[in-house]
Symmetry: C2
Subunit: 138 residues, 2 copies
């Protein structure tokens, strides 16, 4: 399950995607428009910025905007930044790999199944983008 924080992130990013190219949006604007707690949203947007998905400007006329086109930001990227690993086991994660103590990975049956699962999941999450979210919304 995605955390509430991740769902907030997607809501904010969708809004930013809808307004891509129209200049920066204010945190406070996004917060009231999308009903996301202001201070919490501040953290989220800041993390997305540090991950190079957003750019920001301070002072009057400032705010946040997408750094690149919504068509180039995959759902997998967003999930990894805010939610963490996509794989179901650490020993199968591409971006958050951790060795497991109790199985020798080469011949672990569960690991093999989870690798297949990861690939199937990633095939979608890597291909689908913020643009797809916006376009899929009626």
């Amino acid at each position: 399950m995605l955390s509430k924080k991740t769902r907030y992130a997607f809501r904010a990013l969708s809004y930013l995607a809808e307004n891509y190219g129209k200049g920066p949006l204010l945190i406070s604007n996004i917060s009231t428009e999308k009903r996301i707690p202001l201070k919490f949203l501040e953290n989220i947007l800041n993390e997305l910025k540090k991950a190079d998905l957003l750019e920001s400007k301070k002072g009057k006329g400032g705010g946040y905007s997408l750094r690149i086109s919504p068509a180039k930001i995959s759902l997998a990227t967003v999930i990894r930044v805010i939610n963490g690993p996509i794989a179901l086991l650490p020993c199968v994660s591409l971006n958050f790999y951790e060795k497991c103590e109790d199985c020798n990975e080469e011949n672990c049956g569960l690991r093999k199944m989870m690798t297949i699962t990861r690939d199937a999941t990633l095939k979608i999450l890597e291909r689908k983008t913020l643009q797809d979210i916006v376009l899929a919304a009626i």
Copy 2:
């Protein structure tokens, strides 16, 4: 990510699958053999029993065994029993559905993407079974 508890469950179930048809195994045996904390394992096996995946017998000669063939227990079933929902959003879950407050589901773009993702993931997890785990382990 699957919880540690779920990983323990898979380890125990794999062991039970390997010994399918050879009579019940003791909790204490599984615990030492698979290095799973005894009392925690007790809970886990009991939950799996309540979900009708296992059967148990008390007293001497007792223990736990799979109720049905390992080939008929899917990974999805196990995950749902111990870990919970497989979908990434509650509003997209088949077995743990919950309405989301903030989107009208029909035209929520994120929801549509997460439905596709769920289907891709389930296609694997519903098909793969405990037997596949055992067979895939060298």
